[in-house]
């Protein structure tokens, strides 16, 4: 049985490397900082913003721009961007 214990300890020693790998993976998936847009700026440029969101989404998911629909609505003082992507 003690032979098995040696292997257990060996596994435990790798836990930092395992944690580092998982941490790197988690951090690489973190979202970019989103800049807040003042309401008046948003209202003036909402069409332009929608077009930019459509462009980013179509590039990200590799779908044509016409298959991405974007709408914006205000909720609790924040602008919520509603997106609909048709993948078919």
């Amino acid at each position: 049985m003690w032979i098995l214990d040696i292997f257990k300890k060996h596994e435990k020693k790798n836990s930092r490397e395992e944690a580092l790998k998982r941490l790197d993976n988690m951090m690489s998936r973190r979202r970019d900082i989103i800049q807040k847009i003042p309401q008046d700026v948003f209202e003036k440029n909402s069409e332009e913003i929608k077009r930019e969101v459509i462009r980013v989404i179509s590039a990200k998911f590799n779908v044509p721009v016409e298959r991405v629909k974007v709408d914006c609505q205000e909720e609790d003082g924040y602008v919520v961007i509603v997106t609909n992507i048709n993948f078919k």
Binding site: S15, M27, I33
Partner: protein, 267 residues
């Protein structure tokens, strides 16, 4: 004008309240006038860690409701005459207080203190927004475990969305297990700093002294000059711009011997 710090984290149980109490005591011991605000409304604990739970007459809710001024609601610490606490209310909910209320309270206290430390509740909801609203600086408290680091990263993102940047967000690594890190069994302080990409201002090793001091209602900084109380003193000195290497926060073999001999001194 006071420097206003919020001590926050995404995950609960990382030791925000203990760090707030000890940092407040270390700053007060250093001669600063310090006010601690417990923004963890509904689950107050800072008064318990400071041993002031029996001295509370008014709470932050009384201030928000206009019954008393913020200064009248302050509780003075038993041993440190320049340390004050604005306690949270246990019967209130976070929704009873707004970010604007917090800004107004801090504005009224600002002129009387050198440092105001706000103990934030865990999480990213209303309590968090209340706590960060009046702060100029944020101290992220995390432990070296993946869920705590992941949540700390989320909180840093939210702080950045609320006008903070890497110059006014700093990190304290709490409950650090020195032996495990040395053996390569857990993340080191540098691993955590690299992942979160903010300045690491202090490392607090895990210690039984914290449990004992909390039981006594006397923060560890006030009980001893040794062990982790030295780490809080180091953090205070770093906050004031002194350059103290992080290695001095982590017990070495020499420190172990000092601890060993201090055991006999105490007896």
């Amino acid at each position: 004008m006071a420097k206003v710090y919020v001590l926050t984290s995404g995950k609960g149980g990382v030791g925000k309240t203990t760090v707030t109490a000890n940092l407040g005591c270390a700053l007060a011991k250093d001669g600063n006038r310090v006010c601690l605000i417990d923004a963890d409304v509904g689950l107050k604990n800072l008064d318990v860690v400071l041993g002031l739970e029996n001295r509370i007459i008014y709470t932050i809710l009384d201030v928000v409701n206009g019954n008393v001024s913020p200064k009248d609601a302050l509780v003075r610490h038993k041993n440190l005459k320049n340390l004050f606490l604005l306690p949270a209310s246990q019967i209130a909910t976070k929704e009873m207080i707004t970010p604007e209320d917090m800004i107004k309270i801090v504005e009224e206290l600002n002129g009387d203190f050198d440092y105001i430390l706000i103990d934030s509740p865990a999480g990213i909801e209303r309590g968090f927004r209340n706590a960060i609203a009046p702060a100029n600086f944020a101290i992220i408290v995390t432990t070296p475990e993946l869920p705590a680091i992941s949540d700390a990263d989320r909180v840093i993102g939210l702080l950045e969305n609320n006008g903070f940047d890497d110059k006014n967000i700093i990190l304290i690594l709490n409950k650090f297990k020195v032996n495990m890190a040395r053996k390569g069994e857990m993340l080191s302080e540098m691993d955590v700093q690299k992942a979160l990409a903010i300045e690491l201002i202090g490392v607090i090793p895990e210690s039984d002294d914290v449990i004992i001091s909390t039981n006594r209602g006397m923060p560890v900084v006030l009980e001893s000059e040794y062990g982790i109380s030295k780490n809080f003193v180091n953090i205070v000195r770093r906050l004031k711009g002194e350059e103290i290497p992080l290695e001095s926060d982590i017990p070495s073999a020499i420190n172990f011997l000092a601890k060993f001999f201090s055991f006999f001194k105490k007896r």
